[in-house]
Amino acid sequence: MTGYEVRLDGVDFAYGAREALRDVTLRIEAGEAVALLGPNGAGKTTLTRLVIGLARPRAGLVRVGDWEVPGKRPDEMARRVGYVFQHSDQQLFARTVAADVAFGPRQLGRAADGVRAALLELGLEGLAAAHPYDLPAPMRKVVALAGVLAMEPGVLVLDEPTTGLDRAGRDRVIRALRRRHEAGVTVLSVSHDLAFVAEAAERVVVLRDGRVVADASARALLRDEAALAALGLRLPPAAALGLALDLPGAPIRMAECAAVLRGARWTAPAVQ
């Protein structure tokens, strides 16, 4: 899978008279996993909608790889960018989970090989013949994610992908995203769930009032209690545990904490 660079240069966007993004410049390298944080109304979802071409910037440049997004329709952008909406459980329409997951690849004229793989990856193989609306809303959201993974996009954009999921579902989503990231796919996720961010992102960009106010490695920002408090957020559990016990290696994931506590030799990657 080929990841694409996502680039915003001096982007302004407004809903009528209300400015949503102001002079936003952001570069996400191909294959990077980035999380967007910020309070409600900060412009996170707006930024992601610009990347898929659902919104047009008032000023500035938005590029995905060598494509200028404002010149493309969302169905054209779907060849490169897979977008999982915040309320993606509302987009399902087919009679079975498998048929719904196959919709995207079929629209793009791609082979259906990815459908079975996506179902397996997200633990949906037993539900392939079920009607999507017989599933609870969080599971429908997982079905929507499977539909996007099956399209095998080079850029994955996810808006609050773990809302309402139980721990097993959340872990499956995290594993799927990590696999994509390791395969070179660019991952951009919007989330208020810092435990998810710690697991799925290597870099965190913070928006406030439509501006980028922080851009740091996940390991640095997710252990900065004061910076998170300023955003109305609290340390993710693993980071809080690591700080409370003064664990070496700046762990931010539970598996890292467990490794340190077991006495395993584990060292964090260098903070970028």
């Binding site: 659902l54 969302p74 169905d75 399902l92």
Partner: protein, 253 residues
């Protein structure tokens, strides 16, 4: 189609029954009068009401979109195919009584649309719920009315979400008639299924909160209802009764 808009106009600030009473009065008045000039005055009153409510632009476009096809049909049915004598209007030779009939019917449709779209745009559903609950209205009636008032804007928002989501899954909107037909099911089905699922959840949630048990509810902040507004509403009722009385006296034409 329009939905409740935010604003600080006198209609937005008024007790929710007042804009509804004004709209209802215009509706009834449009049928109490029977000359093109009188119906025209009712339409003008509706437009003034929308302007006072600060929702003229919000209301006129959907009203025109809804009324234009019917106006065209009325012109053909009554104006072109109506009885003699004929009158020349621009390039057309039209039936004089037919044209008058088309103007009256078309005017009534316009008055009804403008009046009710104005009420819809200026009455906030939560305030209407409070007002009705404060007057002891049965919950079923409140739920039915408010669900209807909020249905169109909610469905519109959901339709926009579904459209965006399917486009992001590669669905192309446009192209040949066959392609457009194929694109319908991914758009319509989630809209309908989602709405049904939502209603199901809403009913369960309302049941769980004891909404259908009955009994008068205590409303914490009922919308204020001034003496002036109450007088206005009673005045409207009396005015409508007088208009219908006059119509009956004229022979009910």
């Amino acid at each position: 189609m329009t939905g409740s808009s935010s604003g600080g106009s006198p209609l937005h600030r008024a007790h929710p029954y007042t804009p509804l009473a004004l709209a209802g009065a215009l509706f009834l008045l449009a049928f109490a009068v029977s000359t093109p000039r009188a119906v025209g005055l009712v339409v003008v009153a509706g437009v003034v009401l929308a302007a006072v409510g600060g929702v003229l632009r919000h209301v006129l476009r959907p009203a025109l979109v809804l009324a234009l096809p019917t106006w065209g049909l009325l012109l053909v049915l009554h104006g072109l195919l109506g009885a003699d004598p004929r009158v020349v209007v621009g390039p057309l030779t039209l039936s004089e009584p037919g044209l008058a009939r088309a103007l009256v019917l078309g005017g009534r449709i316009a008055a009804i649309l403008v009046a009710f779209l104005t009420a819809l745009a200026t009455v906030s559903p939560p305030r209407l719920v409070e007002a009705m609950a404060a007057r002891g209205a049965p919950f079923g009636l409140i739920f039915l009315l408010v669900s209807t008032l909020t249905l169109v804007p909610r469905m519109r928002a959901r339709a926009a979400q579904v459209l965006a989501a399917q486009q992001c899954r590669g669905l192309r909107i446009g192209g040949s008639p066959l392609a457009r037909l194929r694109a319908l099911s991914p758009l319509v089905l989630p809209l309908v299924l989602g709405a049904l699922a939502e209603v199901d959840e809403q009913v369960l949630a309302l049941d769980a909160r004891g909404a259908v048990i009955g009994g008068r509810r205590t409303v914490l902040h009922p919308p204020p209802d001034s003496a002036l507004e109450r007088v206005l509403r009673w005045g409207l009722l009396l005015g409508i009764l007088a208009a219908y009385g006059a119509k009956l006296a004229r022979g009910g034409a």
